[in-house]
């Protein structure tokens, strides 16, 4: 490679200029971020490096450099190109959105980056859930674990904390209907009136969903009850004010009385793609009933433990994008993770499919929240499997490995879908859904150590 610079040698005096930083990154903390020899095709690694370059520029407040990288990215990104290009276009949008805000808003606690969005019908929601096993994996693993855990109980009470509008339960109700019990097992499902402001969004209220479940259960001859636990004031689904006082209030509602825990019921707490919306920054909380410095997420888990459930199922996305990650590393992690659903959509849907555009756009909003915001406005706080396990242990839970039957069921489910999907089981007994080998979603089950462990901590 020739770098022939003709002419006189440069003189010793160099006028000090602002921002020669796209030249050499001696100032930059991430000198490795300067792109090295991305030749030939514009693969994901190149885009990742560009994004990292932009992220570190924003982190170090070098707006000019960030803008120059954005100019380059604008030539790469395309909302109708291949998965990497599509992903790049959403990332670029998020970066522009972030860079354009003069000061990142810390005052308003509104969950950010969520304008009016399309509401699905139940049929569309069913189609969304069926397209790829992203959610059904968790449903299947959890439902099987639940059935194992509640065997022998006459009454089951499930506290359902999820974002998929009870799409998990028809299968469980069906399975209960098939069991040759006499008298039949009674099932009660409770949900909260609040749900995290994230897609998929449904065009009917949760009460109507509950009504449908009641009808379905009647059809399957399963005694069934559906409750909605009121938390927070009247809030629109799409515009939820998620302030710390809201979380305080939410947690205060998680006690045996309000949740209506009955001693003759087997209580299951089912947490699906929900835990990540609880803030994980460690702060000293206003609620003095929790000792010391904990995050809302930790406090929540403690409270769950005190309900003495016979099982806690947790399903979430396997990626670390929580409080501890700085912007640049978050961008990289997020890019590598979100590639998974984008690549899956590429496999199953045509380039110009409106459905695909919508699903990608939903992820795009997630990206905008992750990349574009900080503090309370950043509601998408994904946590990897490993970290979650440690968190559960610290909150006094013991993991319950999934049984062989469960594993079989999940495998059978995945066989219904294309061959790119796989599964692995780790030492702790958790299951992880994979796409082309990359970890996508994990599912785990826990029980509290000993009920006494929690009851010893005096609490309301």
């Amino acid at each position: 490679m020739k770098a022939d610079v003709r002419g006189k040698n440069p003189s010793p005096t160099i006028s000090s200029m602002q921002n020669p930083s796209l030249f050499t990154n001696s100032r930059s903390s991430i000198s490795g971020a300067v792109l090295t020899g991305c030749l030939s095709s514009l693969d994901g690694a190149c885009i990742e490096k560009l994004l990292l370059h932009c992220g570190s520029a924003l982190e170090s407040n070098d707006v000019t450099l960030a803008q120059q990288v954005m100019w380059v990215l604008n030539n790469v990104a395309s909302a109708v190109g291949d998965p990497n290009q599509r992903l790049a276009s959403y990332f670029l949008r998020a970066l522009v959105s972030r860079a354009s805000r003069v000061c990142p808003a810390t005052m308003s606690f509104k969950a950010a980056g969520i304008p009016h969005r399309r509401l699905m019908s139940v049929t569309e929601l069913a189609g969304y859930v069926d397209l790829i096993p992203w959610h059904r994996f968790g449903f299947c693993a959890s439902n099987n674990a639940i059935l194992d855990a509640v065997r022998g109980f006459r009454k089951i009470h499930i506290l359902d904390l999820s974002i998929t509008h009870c799409m998990q339960w028809p299968t469980l109700i069906d399975a209960l209907g098939k069991e040759p019990e006499c008298p039949p097992v009674e099932l009660r499902i409770s949900v909260l009136s609040w749900r995290p402001p994230t897609p998929p969004l449904l065009n009917i209220p949760i009460e109507k969903v509950g009504q449908r479940l009641v009808n379905f259960a009647r059809y399957r001859d399963v005694p069934f009850e559906f409750n909605v636990i009121k938390v927070g004031g009247p809030v629109e689904e799409e515009e939820t004010v998620v302030s710390s006082s809201f979380y305080d209030f939410l947690l205060s509602q998680l006690n045996a009385t309000i949740v209506k825990v009955n001693v003759d019921e087997a209580l299951v707490v089912n947490i699906q793609n929900w835990l990540r919306y609880l803030p994980d920054e460690e702060t000293s909380l206003s609620d003095s009933s929790c000792d010391g410095i904990m995050s809302y997420r930790d406090s929540f888990l403690e409270l769950v433990g005190r309900l003495s459930p016979c099982l806690v199922t947790v399903v979430d996305e396997d990626c670390d994008l929580g409080a501890q990650s700085g912007l640049a590393s978050r961008i990289v992690s997020c890019f590598n993770y979100m590639w998974i659903p984008f690549d899956a959509f590429e496999t199953f849907l045509p380039k110009d499919s409106p459905q695909r555009i919508e699903y990608e756009s939903d992820i795009g909003h997630k990206i905008e929240n992750i990349v574009g915001y900080e503090g309370a406005q950043r509601i998408e706080r994904l946590e990897s499997e490993g970290r979650l396990c440690r968190r559960m242990a610290a909150a006094g839970f013991m993991s319950v490995p999934f049984g062989e039957e469960t594993v079989k069921e999940v495998k059978a489910l995945l066989d219904e879908h294309a061959s790119g999907w796989g599964m692995k089981k780790d030492e702790e007994g958790m299951l992880v859904l994979t796409w082309k080998g990359h970890n996508a979603v994990y599912a785990g089950a826990w029980v509290p150590y000993a009920p006494a462990f929690h009851q010893n901590n005096l609490l309301v």
């Binding site: 490679m1 022939d4 002419g7 200029m17 796209l22 000019t64 990288v69 380059v72 522009v96």
Partner: protein, 533 residues
């Protein structure tokens, strides 16, 4: 619109022996018509005195401002602005707490205050009536008690009205300059200074720069020492950081160049003003990521000589070479030091053909207009460009006609242009040193447009339409800037959300960036006309 001016009829000598800067006035019996137009009833013969009072007032106001309380900054009551002398004097009284003359009683007072009759009793009825009416206004404001003027009373100036007055005064001054009525121009330029104090923000800054430029022209203190080019580069860097203008230029020109280079294995960019080379890293990065691998990239940078004989161009070249190595692009650099683009010819650039044939792009950002100061220069340069056989020529220029034959036209055009530009920068809220240095950068342009002439006046901006005609007759065809360039410009504007007044406009394949409805910068692209092969 021209008026008949009594040029020779200037004020009588100042009543007092106080020194003033004005040239010896000539006797004049009537009112100055120009001032009358502005609504000021002042006799030319008394101008010296009025001017003196203006100076006093300025000093008094300045002191007041220093106290941290500038009464003039507020939109407060203002009475009878048309009575200039009375107004001035009342303000003086307010601020200094004492009347400029010891007596104040009756209709004659104002004349006495003015220090010499504004209006003689022999004055025409018309004038007298107006004066009396003015007096009546004044007195009704003050109330019955003649000593009411001594009462502390919130003064003074309606700043919005003063803003309008300010513009009018600037334009009147320019007209006076065009008429070569330098004494009047001098008085007006001072008045501008007075009015400018009551403004804030962009208006104040623009007025100050234009007043300074006018003063230079009036007193013939031009040209100001030319900045050495490293300082000039520093100023442009600050301009680069403030507001989207220079970034718009780079974003759009680079997009056109990137697209023109598609499929080429060897490319050569000729940059008519390399400066700090801020345009090129992004282009090089994009070329590096090109599917199929980057082309060999050659850059020829042109710049002015350095006062200390240092080789600024080579320094920039070295930095770019280092970047190129990091990103894996074969890179070559050559610098050309010259005072004028017209001194270059294509052969010097050694454009390569044959085996090493290179695709050439010529890039000119705010350079071509300077050539209009020398007859024949721009034609020569356009011919040289053709000899370089470029695939694309990118031109970015200020969208304004600051090169008209009449001084007044240039003045009014540039007043509007720079007011708009200063307004836009004010909105950015970036503040601090960048903004300040950007204002200095633009102030120098203002100074050049207003105070200079002949070969020294290099800021000869012309509109896109004018350049279109010139390029056309020089044998160039326009190249449409595509939708990608528009996308880039839109993204840039999204990044400047604080200045929501910015807008991008596409016009016949060119892109313009402006503030509200006024385009300020235009990017266009060209190639050699088909007929010329």
């Amino acid at each position: 619109m021209k008026r008949d001016r009594d040029r020779g009829k200037a004020a009588a000598a100042a009543a007092s022996g106080k020194p003033n800067m004005w040239p010896e006035p000539q006797p004049d019996a009537g009112m100055d018509e120009l001032f009358a137009v502005l609504g000021y009833k002042v006799k030319s013969s008394d101008m010296a005195d009025v001017a003196e009072k203006l100076e006093q007032l300025e000093m008094a106001m300045g002191t007041t401002a220093d106290d941290g309380v500038s009464v003039l900054a507020d939109d407060t009551v203002h009475y009878n602005p048309s009575d200039l002398s009375g107004w001035v004097d009342n303000m003086l009284t307010e601020l200094t707490g004492e009347s400029s003359t010891p007596n104040f009683a009756g209709e004659d007072d104002l004349r006495a205050i003015a220090g010499g009759a504004i209006f003689d009793t022999t004055e025409s009825d018309n004038g007298c009536k107006r004066m009396k009416a003015a007096e009546a206004d004044v007195r009704s404001e003050f109330g019955e008690n003649s000593s009411a003027v001594q009462q502390p009373r919130a003064v003074v100036v309606d700043s919005q009205e003063t803003g309008v007055r300010l513009v009018h005064t600037l334009m009147a001054c320019a007209e006076a300059v065009q008429q070569e009525n330098m004494k009047l121009a001098d008085a007006l330029v001072k008045h501008v200074g007075l009015l400018a104090v009551s403004q804030i923000g962009a208006m104040r800054k623009v007025a100050t720069y234009f007043a300074e430029a006018l003063a230079r022209r009036i007193y013939k203190i031009y040209p100001e020492e030319p900045l050495d080019s490293s300082l000039s580069d520093i100023l442009q860097m600050h301009f680069y950081e403030t507001g989207p203008y220079l970034k718009f230029a780079h974003f759009t020109a680079n997009q056109a160049i990137l697209e023109a280079f598609a499929g080429a294995n060897r490319v050569h960019v000729i940059d008519f003003s390399l400066r700090q080379g801020m345009q090129w890293p992004a282009l090089m990065q994009a070329l590096a990521l090109r599917p199929g691998g980057p082309p060999a990239f050659r850059l020829t940078g042109i710049g002015p000589p350095q006062p200390d004989n240092s080789d600024a161009l080579q320094q920039v070249g070295w930095k770019l070479a280092q970047l190129a190595e990091t990103i894996g692009v074969e890179f070559e650099f050559r610098g050309f030091v010259t005072n004028s683009l017209a001194d270059l010819d294509a052969e010097m650039l050694e454009i390569r053909a044959g085996d090493e044939e290179e695709t050439v792009a010529v890039n000119s950002v705010f350079e071509l207009h300077q050539l209009l100061a020398r007859p024949g220069a721009v034609e020569k340069v356009l011919d040289s460009i053709k000899a370089m056989r470029p695939k694309i020529v990118t031109v970015v220029e200020q969208e304004a006609n600051h090169n008209g034959g009449a001084f007044l036209d240039r003045f009014n055009e540039s007043l509007h242009y720079y007011s708009t530009m200063f307004d836009s920068l004010e909105s950015d809220g970036g503040g601090g040193q960048d903004l300040m240095m950007t204002e200095v950068y633009l102030g120098r342009q203002i100074c050049n447009v207003v105070a200079c002439d002949g070969a020294e006046r290099v800021e000869r901006h012309e509109t896109l339409e004018q350049w279109r005609a010139r390029m056309g007759s020089a044998g160039f065809d326009p190249v449409q800037l595509g939708s990608n360039a528009f996308k880039q410009a839109s993204m840039l504007l999204a990044l400047f959300s604080s200045g929501e007044g910015y807008m991008v406009e596409e016009r016949d394949g060119c892109l313009m960036l402006g503030w509200h409805t006024r385009p300020l910068i235009a990017t266009s692209a060209w190639r050699i006309a088909a007929a010329e092969g």
